[in-house]
């Protein structure tokens, strides 16, 4: 099926079914629900980055008129342990301590208590009345500091995992990981040219525009309904149940529309607090985070420190590469160093390599997934190294990458051989792209880099209901974060052979549809799309059976063509083809309503590679970088909704460029974030960017009925190194720390000038 490119609706860009509600303000997001009798919850947060909680006295807060409930660590069950699978999972005890501190606070902004009151202002007044006595401890704020043997410990019971022997003393290094093949020393010995580099990238936030928000309503039987913005309401239910030791059956999660997530809304923060406050106050409780709380207390992605070495022969053939990389986990283990290590060399056919990676605790918020977690940081280092290699070898940077590019059958650094992949197709498309063949603007620098993400499948459910007039309702369980309803409708329309306008998609809550993992991991169009296609195939099978019964034929004598049941070729039957509407209209006589369903654990999510390049200008007097043009080329397998695939590529490029040029968590020496707002956490604004040109490459993924590869995460990976390499090209200076902020660039220019003198 993947080869049948004669699609009727796939690859078009129709208006999304939820669009009108979103441009008119009707769509309800996390903070938009107001219930009768609802009260407001607020969180008291730690003023220290690292401290022991000696005492919490909530009595004065409880006495304030209009305050209905106050909770802190002692109100939570003590016994959590074990792991939570799926996205945003990890260790239950860590998750529980992250949503509400118990004995220790581990970052500035860590929740220590929460109140629910008649108005937000009374709730804030009550927060001020809670007394907390702290024993302040020295904060651990950098990787260098945290990894020193004598560093203050965040967790006295944490021993480094995955070492050959159990260590004899605790450490801030939660885990190590190694990945190797061949013999690195021999590989470097064969090299004619070797480049080495050391790169630092600071923590960065997903920066979704909608702050976390939820409403919880608990009844007298202890059953709770939670409305919230989430990337995965089933996983939120699982996590909340574990943290509160509740029966999953007593928790119902209803996903609102979601105002962005990028991985950051795969983790619970407010939800268990709202449930407890609602239980205690016996009222619906609404909780919303301020933007400041979002920055201080939700998961950004890791800051990193990476050392890299790559060797190649004169003709460009890479012989060996090695990397040492430390990732900030924040307050609890779980930095994405694993995928970082597995992705760093993924684009290249490398006979010899070695990667050593560290998951390191620091007194900063616990990191959460952010678009291709771990890969932008590690691949930035490699793509900068490859750029330096190209310079030393005098090769075009795309030619050098083509020479070493992974392809079908290449053994990926993380083990298996690649199935069909689109890296070479992307590189070739870049090489001939008019934006690449044209000369650079005078004075500007050009950077090139490759991006990659594995993509995942995971579990999805879908139901397809055929209405009495033949229109179609798709029910699935993945919050629509970027137009996925439209993609589901397109795949259903294509499969069933009906017009797109006849199909609508809705996202069921945890009680009205089957389990689905998060909208994340670039899995929704791939895995949930596969479930929708299978559910439609279920409908087609039923329609064929009903048509056969109607016509007095055998099921094998009926085929499905263009939305109609027709007699198979060679079957002699004088009957009129039956449309989906015809069959639906007669459903009562042929077996009742038409309902198709499918549930699966999708396997074979094809990796998506990208090639990005751009022209950047640098003001040598101020160090300011301007992005003059940017081109993103990516393998989508098959673009279901073309405009939304382009949108993923453009949006990911903007996020990657923001991280490269301006975004960073800035801390003072006490571990207090200095820029917890959109004023000083500088995400790109409209005037910062040019149009972002895109080219979609389609190397179909054989595992998906329409050839889909996930496209959501890969786009953020390459822009970091594109920016670094372009600035390197413009200035002739390699700057090895992001962001490429004006003070850093000006200092580098001056240091180079001083060195030249």
């Amino acid at each position: 099926m993947a080869e049948a490119v004669d699609f009727k609706v796939i690859g078009t860009s129709p208006v999304r079914p939820d669009g009108v509600d979103k441009v008119t303000g009707r769509a309800q997001y996390g903070a938009d629900l107001n219930l009768p009798g609802m009260i407001y919850g607020r969180v008291l947060r730690s003023p220290h980055a690292h401290a022991r909680i000696k005492r919490i006295d909530t009595s004065r807060a409880e006495a304030i008129p209009g305050v209905y409930a106050v909770i802190c660590g002692r109100d939570f069950p003590r016994g959590q342990s074990g792991e939570i699978g799926g996205e945003g999972g990890g260790d239950v005890a860590d998750l529980a301590k992250n949503v509400m501190a118990r004995d220790k606070v581990l970052y500035h902004g860590h929740a220590v208590a929460a109140v629910a009151a008649r108005s937000p202002r009374i709730a804030e007044e009550a927060l001020a009345a809670i007394e907390v006595e702290y024993e302040v401890l020295p904060p651990v704020l950098t990787l260098e500091q945290a990894m020193r043997p004598d560093a203050p410990l965040l967790d006295e019971h944490l021993y480094t995992k995955n070492l050959p022997e159990k260590p004899d003393k605790p450490s801030n290094i939660a885990a190590v990981m190694q990945l190797a093949r061949g013999n690195v020393d021999e590989g470097f010995a064969q090299a004619d040219v070797i480049v080495e580099g050391e790169y630092k990238i600071p923590m960065a936030h997903q920066g979704y525009i909608e702050p976390h928000a939820c409403v919880a309503n608990t009844n007298e039987a202890g059953q709770s309904t939670v409305w919230c913005c989430t990337q995965g309401h089933f996983e939120f239910r699982a996590m909340t149940a574990k943290v509160l030791e509740m029966n999953v059956a007593d928790l119902k999660f209803i996903p609102s529309e979601i105002g962005g997530g990028f991985g950051g809304k795969t983790v619970i923060y407010l939800e268990p607090l709202a449930v407890l406050l609602s239980r205690k106050s016996r009222r619906p409780v609404k909780m919303t985070m301020s933007r400041e709380e979002v920055f201080r207390a939700t998961g950004p992605t890791s800051g990193t420190w990476i050392k890299i070495k790559v060797g190649a022969k004169k003709d460009g053939t890479m012989t060996a590469a090695s990397a040492w990389m430390a990732y900030e986990a924040g307050a609890f283990p779980g930095a994405p160093m694993g995928p970082g290590a597995m992705s760093i060399f993924a684009p290249y056919n490398l006979p010899n390599f070695k990667v050593e990676a560290f998951d390191v605790l620091v007194n900063k918020p616990k990191v959460a997934a952010y678009r291709a977690p771990g890969a932008p940081q590690s691949m930035h280092a490699m793509e900068c190294a490859v750029d330096e290699l190209a310079r030393k070898l005098g090769m075009d940077p795309i030619d050098l990458r083509l020479k070493n590019a992974a392809d079908e059958g290449t053994q990926a650094p993380y083990g298996p051989k690649f199935p069909p992949i689109g890296l070479k197709a992307c590189l070739e498309a870049a090489k001939r792209h008019p934006n690449y063949t044209r000369p650079k603007p005078p004075g500007a620098g050009r950077g090139v880099a490759v991006g990659f993400w594995f993509n995942v499948g995971m579990q999805s459910s879908a139901e397809v209901h055929i209405n009495e007039n033949g229109t179609v309702t798709v029910v699935e369980g993945n919050p629509d974060i970027g137009g996925s309803r439209a993609s589901m409708c397109l795949m259903a329309a294509e499969t069933l052979g009906v017009p797109y306008q006849n199909v609508r998609a809705l996202i069921g809550d945890t009680e009205s549809t089957g389990f689905s993992n998060v909208t994340g991991g670039s899995r929704t169009t791939f895995a949930t799309g596969m479930a929708v296609v299978k559910a439609c195939e279920d409908i087609i099978a039923q329609c064929k059976a009903r048509a056969a019964a109607t016509w007095g034929l055998d099921e094998s004598q009926v085929e499905w063509q263009d939305g109609h049941a027709v007699p198979a070729p060679g079957v002699n039957a004088d009957v009129k083809p039956l449309s989906l509407a015809d069959i639906a209209a007669n459903a009562a006589r042929t077996g009742g309503p038409l309902l198709g369903r499918a549930s699966l654990n999708a396997q074979g999510a094809g990796a998506s590679f990208s090639v990005n390049f751009g022209d950047f200008a640098v003001d040598r007097d101020t160090g300011k970088v301007d992005v003059l043009s940017f081109t993103a080329i990516q393998d989508a397998g098959r673009a279901i909704h073309k405009a939304y695939v382009e949108g993923q590529m453009q949006g990911g490029a903007a996020q990657g460029l923001g991280w490269a040029l301006n975004e960073e968590y800035i801390y003072d020496e006490n571990g207090v974030m200095q820029n917890a707002g959109f004023l000083d956490y500088r995400i790109p604004v409209a005037s910062d960017l040019p149009m972002i040109d895109t080219e979609i490459i389609e190397v179909p993924n054989p595992s998906h009925p329409y050839g889909v590869r996930g496209v959501g995460e890969t786009p953020i990976v390459a822009p970091l190194a594109v920016a670094s390499n372009a600035v390197r090209d413009a200035l002739g200076i390699r700057i090895n720390e992001l962001p490429l902020s004006p003070p850093r660039i000006l200092a580098a220019i001056e240091a180079a000038e001083a060195g030249a003198r």
Binding site: T622, L679, A747
Partner: protein, 292 residues
């Protein structure tokens, strides 16, 4: 703990009465024009209850008089309104630029020159531009009206020479002489939406031969308050505003600065960039004065 209150007087004497009553009773009142800084502060650093005195309904604070000399600019006129006035932009292009740089389009719909000044931030964009054009504060109090040059109005970070029973009515700006031009430039990491890392306003007047006969230079975000830099003006006066003179003025600005290192930039960076901005703004002001 007191309570919040909101009043929007329509007459100046009413407004002054509210302020003086609060002052005499030891209650806090705060004047609000556009509110774009005030409302943010009320939700973060300064939550203390107070009476908010909205001065947008007063005639005097909304008055824009471009015909008189000095020109009068009411303290409550939003920067978007100023920039929609072609005569204002033609007369004081540098000050208009500065007003156009305060925040987003949305912020400019509310933010005022008076508010930017009274917020007394070291980084207020319009303050160096006002200093450059020689703006004077017109301050109303129960005892009458007094005047104070803008460079003397802000006394430190967040502090100003305004008593609790006074309010800023507006600004007087001497009508620019023939062959005059002003310009303001600031540096921010993005293209919009940031607080100035450094800012510089320059105004110059030329004689028939193109020699600079008068100049004022104001710098912002490089000291606890925006400063007038006489040494920079001296470097310009008497010159043809050639590159050497502009560079000398830039050096004077760097030398006059005493910046800090913070999340927006290092001290070293600010000191250098304020000089760059002075050179560039000086060139723009010169070209405007020449009429090209």
């Amino acid at each position: 703990m007191g309570a919040f209150a909101y009043v929007a007087p329509t007459r100046l004497d009413e407004a002054l009465t509210v302020l003086s009553e609060h002052a005499s009773q030891g209650r806090r009142a705060q004047v609000m024009a556009g509110g774009t800084d005030l409302l943010v502060q009320m939700r973060s650093v300064d939550r203390e209850p107070r009476t908010i005195v909205d001065i947008k309904k007063l005639a005097e604070t909304n008055r824009l008089d471009l015909a008189s000399d000095p020109i009068f600019i009411g303290a409550a006129i939003p920067s978007a309104v100023l920039n929609e006035n072609a005569d204002f932009v033609a007369l004081l292009p540098g000050l208009a630029e500065a007003a156009d740089l305060i925040g987003s389009t949305q912020i400019q719909g509310r933010a005022t020159l008076g508010g930017n000044l009274c917020n007394a931030s070291p980084a207020g964009d319009t303050i160096p531009a006002m200093i450059a054009v020689g703006a004077v504060c017109v301050i109303a109090g129960r005892g009458g009206t007094r005047r104070l040059p803008v460079e003397d109005f802000v006394t430190g970070v967040g502090t100003k020479a305004l008593r609790p029973d006074e309010l800023l009515l507006g600004l007087e700006v001497p009508k620019p002489a023939p062959r005059s031009g002003d310009a303001y430039l600031r540096f921010i990491p993005r293209t919009e939406m940031d607080i100035a890392v450094a800012g510089c306003g320059v105004s110059v007047t030329l004689d028939d031969s193109g020699t600079c006969t008068a100049a004022r230079v104001g710098i912002g975000a490089v000291a606890p308050r925006a400063l007038l830099v006489p040494a920079a003006a001296e470097a310009l006066i008497g010159s043809k505003l050639d590159d050497a003179a502009l560079a000398a003025a830039g050096r004077a600005c760097s030398e006059a600065s005493s910046p800090i290192t913070d999340k927006r930039g290092t001290a070293d960076y600010r000191r250098k960039v304020v000089g760059v901005l002075c050179r560039r703004a000086g060139a723009i002001a010169r070209d405007r004065a020449r009429g090209n």
